[in-house]
């Protein structure tokens, strides 16, 4: 069973946390920190499996991760999962993200965490692999987004009116300009 799926950037900032077992908020953050420490000190040319995390359920617990550009995708699994299988699953997840966001980069994940959660929800459910067929996943996500768009059409008018006021926010626009341009996940397509 998959115990948790973490996406952490190169500086240890969480970009997606999904736990399939309940942990308190503090515990979750502790797991993130510990996992990042374990993963970040590894070279890129070593294997993608790691033991030694202590926080989730003691012994029966392995980290399987892939490192793409600025992000670590880390799956915490128990011994009932095939290590190589999970590696492929990470690939499916990332490729799906890539197709949803068109050249996904860290900023996409930062500003659309909810969307990433929805996508993940179509791939993994309750700690078990749900669907791995990428076309099916994408189609379902698009169908659901479409419903949301239709609903937004009816009720979005007042929200739009207000957002005009928001444009006075000069400080925010200044900051927008400064936003770093993160490299996209360039090695994504040929990583298989």
């Amino acid at each position: 069973m998959i115990k948790a799926i973490l996406v952490i950037n190169n500086h240890g900032k969480p970009r997606l946390l999904k736990f399939y077992q309940h942990y308190s908020e503090e515990m979750q953050q502790q797991i993130v920190r510990e996992t990042f420490q374990l993963v970040s000190k590894r070279d890129d040319n070593v294997c993608n499996f790691l033991e030694g995390g202590t926080l989730i359920d003691g012994n029966d617990y392995r980290l399987i991760y892939r490192h793409y550009a600025t992000l670590y995708f880390i799956f915490c699994v128990d011994s009932s999962e095939s290590e190589l299988g999970i590696l492929d699953l990470i690939q499916v997840f990332v490729e799906t993200l890539d197709r949803c966001f068109e050249n996904v980069c860290e900023l996409d994940l930062i500003f659309h965490v909810d969307r990433v959660h929805h996508i993940l929800g179509e791939i993994v459910m309750g700690g078990m692999v749900l669907e791995t067929n990428m076309n099916e996943i994408l189609q379902r996500i698009q169908e659901q987004d479409k419903i949301q768009k239709q609903e937004a059409g009816i009720t979005a008018a007042p929200a739009r009116a207000v957002s005009a006021v928001k444009n006075m926010n000069i400080s925010q626009q200044l900051k927008d300009i400064k936003l770093p341009d993160l490299p996209s996940l360039s090695n994504l397509k040929n990583a298989f």
Binding site: E51, L130, N133, V165, K166, M168, I170, S171
Partner: protein, 801 residues
């Protein structure tokens, strides 16, 4: 200038938030994220988050705020950063109750992330889920199923199991696969609900959709692992599974499920796993799957990771269900190929699998020993760790010398976390398999030096026990350890401790010339080592304590340097640590009592037990007595009787005749006294050291060789000591030996043993094959306080035989 701009910005911010408030518009998620990202310190970030949390909390009071979705989305972001967000739970539930899909989607997402199983809002969730599960929009039901799969509590499972079962029966693949996984979670949480799902699961496996098949396989695997009855029930499905697998294998290219040329590897892996569960310990079922396993193993393309994932799972299945030997050879060969693969991941899983299969097929794994040893040098820590474990699993009498060399090289440069484990495992391995004591000792000294301060304490005590219990190596040990201590040993405190203890006990042997061409050691040399080490600030307290005790003992063994020794003993009389101070003060007094000190500082009695002995027997798979065996079983196994005529055979996995040559080398006869290294006063040759197979619950059994082989017969004496405060009644001793021997027991001296008394019993062993090593399994039974007690033990070699 800069401050002016900042001031202006702050002003505008203020106005903005005022206008925003009056219009009732909360900050957008995007803006919150930007603010958080712009924060330069943790304190700044916290301030931003706290402020926004307060705003969100306030807006939750307003029940018809149109910004609920936005607020929850912000809250989820705050939650991810690790700030408290539980106050949003109730709001999520309100959103879920709305009819809009957008609201439900974010509401359920919030529920999945924020709710926990103990939450008091669970009743609300259960009601919403119940409504939504039956909703006609498939995506709403899908969301509900997904949420249920994430946060189901036991009560929720009971309330909603039937709804889930209904969905499984519906004809919608998108919901079916989700419902199957929901059922998996429910069964895991509340196993008795399994019955609800058994009937509908069978039909699931007939589906075409791969997602549904995968969910179904997961569910069946879980149910089979939980209940043996269900396992038997689903064994009928093996032909179906085999067919699915065959279709996947033969279907060729199907764009839908293709992953780099292989048809749905995920499903294949799941099915192979289920086959493993179904085929375990069942010859008939195993038979049914042999063919397909062979096909998968030979037809899978291995150029890509996906192919290897399938092969890996196939190998695991073949090894675990104990397939026919041809298939097993194929599997081990695949692992051999894996080991040579350039991809580190593949090498890692190969080592992992070998470790799992070493118990199934020891010989087959042995064949890959050289590659495994090579992996000790891998730069990857995960691979090194696995390789080390595997190395210790593969060590045996024939290869220990060769493998130890490599392990020692590994130990030299290993990380701290490995050193400690490696040291204690080395001790256990050398204790079991060493060709001789001398080698054992040398190896362990090297281990102590390489592992330095990481050597666990029990290894120190075991080393001391080893030296104490083996008289013939004491002289050799003391000189080796002295030289080791003389070299740079300050970094290896445990080594110093062993060395100090040994020098203290056997200092007199140190001064006797051991070898013709070695330079003799003088008292001066020995004291110099103490003088160098003891005052050093780098020496640990424990080592100093060992040192002071050793010095005190040396006073009675050395003659010319008593004054120097006493000065060293006295040195710590004002030490800050009581333990050391006490030793220093008390030994100083004792050393002045000339008539008493020789008696007090005699050699320590032989230590017969050590803390790792227990570990040694437990890893000894092939001959360790199973502690759970009932009395009857053991008797059946050993066919023991007390009658004199009947010889007893011990079922032994190790074939004595085929290993004869090996055992020859390890024959542990007392070394002849003309050997220069062991030129120590041997204890009376006819008086062999007793072995203690059983020492438990206050009852100790010793067995001693009385007469060694004469006309292939040897006589042994068993002595049982009662250290309990009560009398042992009906004491009965049973013994069995390996097939190459016949044993006969004489009657015991008395059936009852008083407290602090003992009983004796003689036995005769007849040897049928020359040069075999006598090994014995023993069992005792007695009645203490009206209840029957038993004990078991084993002797792997007798001193004197």
């Amino acid at each position: 200038m800069a401050t002016a701009v900042e001031l202006a910005i702050e002003k505008i911010d203020e106005y903005k938030s005022k206008i925003g408030r009056t219009l009732g518009t909360p900050m957008r998620l995007r803006d919150l994220i930007r603010q958080v990202r712009a924060a330069r310190t943790m304190a700044e970030e916290r301030a931003v988050v706290d402020k926004e949390s307060a705003n969100i909390r306030e807006s939750f009071r307003d029940d018809d705020s149109p910004w609920k979705c936005r607020n929850i989305a912000k809250l989820l972001y705050i939650h991810m950063l690790g700030y408290p967000a539980h106050f949003g739970q109730m709001e999520c539930m309100k959103l879920v109750a709305h009819s809009r899909f957008t609201d439900k989607r974010i509401g359920y997402l919030g529920a999945m992330l924020l709710l926990d199983e103990r939450s008091e809002v669970h009743l609300l969730v259960t009601n919403s889920l119940k409504n939504d599960l039956t909703c006609s929009t498939q995506f709403v039901s899908g969301l509900a199923l997904c949420t249920l799969g994430s946060i189901c509590s036991a009560e929720m499972c009971r309330d909603l199991a039937n709804e889930v079962e209904k969905i499984i029966k519906q004809n919608n693949a998108y919901l079916k696969k989700k419902a199957a996984l929901c059922a998996f979670r429910i069964v895991r949480k509340v196993p008795e609900l399994m019955e609800v799902f058994i009937p509908c699961t069978r039909s699931l496996l007939g589906e075409k959709n791969h997602g549904v098949l995968m969910g179904a396989t997961t569910l069946v695997t879980e149910m089979c692992e939980r209940s043996p009855d269900v396992l038997n029930h689903f064994k009928k499905l093996v032909p179906n599974l085999v067919r699915i697998l065959k279709n996947l294998l033969m279907s060729g290219y199907s764009p839908e499920h293709d992953v780099t040329g292989i048809s749905d590897p995920f499903l294949q892996v799941k099915i192979l796993r289920l086959l493993r569960v179904l085929g375990k310990d069942d010859v008939r079922v195993t038979e049914e799957m042999n063919d397909i396993l062979a096909q998968v193993a030979t037809n899978t393309e291995t150029a890509k990771n996906v192919g290897n994932a399938i092969l890996y799972e196939t190998v695991l299945t073949i090894m675990e269900i104990k397939s026919e030997s041809g298939l097993r050879i194929l599997a081990v060969n695949i692992l051999g190929r894996f080991l040579l693969n350039t991809d580190k991941n593949i090498r890692y899983v190969a080592l992992n699998t070998l470790l799992k299969t070493v118990h199934v097929d020891y010989q087959a794994v042995q064949r890959h020993r050289n590659v495994v040893v090579e992996c000790l040098k891998d730069p990857d820590i995960s691979i090194r760790k696995r390789a080390m474990e595997l190395c210790f699993a593969l060590m045996n009498k024939t290869n220990i010398v060769m493998m130890t060399k490599e392990v020692l090289i590994f130990l030299e440069t290993a990380d701290a976390e490995f050193k400690s484990e490696c040291a204690s495992r080395m001790y256990i391995a050398t204790e079991r398999y060493s060709p001789n004591h001398e080698w054992h000792l040398n190896t362990m000294i090297t281990v102590l030096r390489s592992a330095g301060k990481y050597v666990p304490d029990e290894v120190v005590s075991c080393m001391i026990q080893l030296i104490s219990a083996n008289e013939q190596i004491q002289s050799y040990a003391v000189s080796q350890l002295f030289h080791a201590a003389q070299r740079d040993a300050i970094n290896a405190q445990p080594l110093l401790q062993v060395a100090f203890w040994t020098i203290g006990e056997f200092g007199d042997l140190l001064l006797q010339p051991t070898d013709v061409d070695s330079t003799p050691i003088s008292e001066n040399d020995v004291i110099s080592v103490f003088e160098a080490v003891l005052p050093s600030a780098l020496t640990s307290l424990i080592t100093k304590c060992y040192g002071v005790t050793a010095l005190a003992k040396l006073v009675t063994r050395f003659h010319s340097s008593v004054d120097r020794i006493q000065a060293l003993v006295k040195m710590n009389q004002a030490h800050i640590q009581l333990e050391l101070q006490q030793r220093s003060v008390e030994f100083n007094v004792i050393l002045n009592l000339e008539n008493l000190r020789d008696g007090l500082l005699e050699r320590m009695p032989v230590i017969t037990h050590n803390s790792l002995n227990a570990a040694v027997t437990s890893i000894d798979n092939d001959c360790s007595p199973d502690n759970n065996v009932t009395n009857g079983e053991l008797l059946g196994d050993l066919s023991i009787s007390t009658s004199k005529q009947e010889g007893l055979l011990l079922d032994d996995d190790v074939s004595v005749s085929s290993n004869k040559a090996i055992f020859d080398i390890f024959d542990s006869r007392p070394i002849p006294s003309n050997d220069p290294i062991f030129d120590t006063p041997q204890a009376n040759q006819s008086q062999y050291r007793p072995v203690i197979p059983i020492n438990a619950k206050g009852v100790e059994v010793q067995i001693q060789v009385v007469e060694s082989w004469v006309n292939d017969e040897a006589r042994l004496k068993m002595t049982a000591y009662n250290y309990t405060p009560r009398t042992l009644y009906n004491f009965n001793f049973l013994a069995a030996v390996t097939k190459a021997f016949v044993i006969s027991l004489e009657p015991s001296s008395s059936p009852n043993i008083e407290p602090n008394e003992h009983a004796t019993q003689f036995m005769t062993i007849t040897r049928k094959a020359p040069n075999s090593v006598a090994r014995m399994r023993t069992q005792i039974s007695y009645i203490l306080d009206g209840t029957e007690q038993t004990g078991q033990g084993q002797v792997d070699e007798f001193p004197g035989l």
